[in-house]
């Protein structure tokens, strides 16, 4: 299996409190986004933050795992929607930490019942590399429901 290397870069001007940064997908050029400390901890104002990027990463990681597991169980999905919420909080004695990542999935899966989806969801959580990583230091919750279109 090939090793995969992906690169991102950020230029930050000035201090954390008053400065701002631009984060770029250096591997692909697929995004270039501005970030500030205010967008991270206070009002968002259309700017991204490390936690939002992690939420996007976890949602994307999980959706590919879920699709793979459903296909393995003989029920390839037609469509899946995943929402991921990352929470950073101040932990006494440990400063700011990412304390949880919560995944909510909806899937259109022809022929699948809830038990199949539940089995696939559990396997997808176990198989998604990012779920495994973040579970070492934070709480991960995963829920999935079937939606219209399945028979």
């Amino acid at each position: 299996v090939p090793r995969i290397v992906r690169e991102a870069e950020i230029d930050w001007e000035g201090t954390t409190a008053r400065g701002s940064g631009v984060v770029r997908a250096a591997s692909t050029g697929s995004f270039e986004l501005s970030a500030t400390i205010a967008s991270r901890i206070e009002v968002i104002e259309g700017k991204t933050s490390p936690e939002e990027l992690l939420a996007a990463a976890h949602a994307t990681c999980f959706v590919t795992s879920l699709g793979s597991e459903l296909a393995r169980l003989g029920n390839p999905p037609e469509h899946m929607h995943v929402r991921c919420t990352i929470t950073m909080d101040e932990v006494e004695g440990a400063g700011h930490q990412i304390v949880s990542s919560d995944i909510a999935a909806r899937a259109v899966v022809p022929g699948a019942d809830e038990a199949t989806l539940a089995a696939a969801t559990e396997a997808a959580d176990a198989g998604c590399p990012f779920s495994a990583l973040i579970r070492a230091t934070a709480t991960v919750s995963v829920e999935a429901v079937l939606e219209g279109g399945n028979s």
């Binding site: 870069e9 930050w12 954390t16 700017k47 990352i86 973040i134």
Partner: protein, 143 residues
């Protein structure tokens, strides 16, 4: 406390299907397309992946932590350029994050900058969240 939410949709199988990071709470980006091939092969073909997003998150987190640490020590930076390179081995997981930072910091010597960079690497929330990654490194140099 701060919550941040992202939405992703995927249609079809893993290998032949494709997905979209449809939106994020801030509205700062999206839609961004993703595929398995873009994630797993050397040629990402201009599409992002979870690993690239984690690299971006880590670079952003580290740069904020370092900037904050330098300012608290009385030597705020003029500019920090940070790279994060993440290595993902399918079937194994994320094996390494390599951070590099090039800084313009008036009044600071190279040894103190390296020390500040190590502290930021150890303590930024994304580093702590990625504590299970076997290897996280930082290389720091001044302009």
């Amino acid at each position: 406390m701060a919550d941040r939410t992202a939405h992703v949709t995927w249609s079809g199988s893993l290998m032949e299907g494709s997905g979209t990071i449809t939106s994020v709470e801030s509205g700062a980006f999206g839609p961004l397309d993703v595929t398995w091939a873009a994630r797993a092969e050397d040629d990402a073909a201009g599409l992002t992946s979870p690993e690239e997003l984690i690299a971006a998150a880590h670079a952003a987190c580290f740069s904020m932590a370092l900037s904050h640490g330098l300012a608290q020590a009385g030597t705020p930076p003029d500019k920090l350029d940070v790279d994060a390179t993440l290595t993902f081995v399918p079937g194994t997981g994320i094996t390494k994050v390599a951070l590099t930072v090039h800084g313009e910091v008036p009044g600071l010597d190279a040894a103190a900058f390296v020390e500040a960079a190590e502290t930021a690497k150890d303590n930024c929330p994304v580093s702590k969240a990625l504590a299970a990654v076997p290897e996280i490194t930082v290389e720091a140099s001044l302009a």
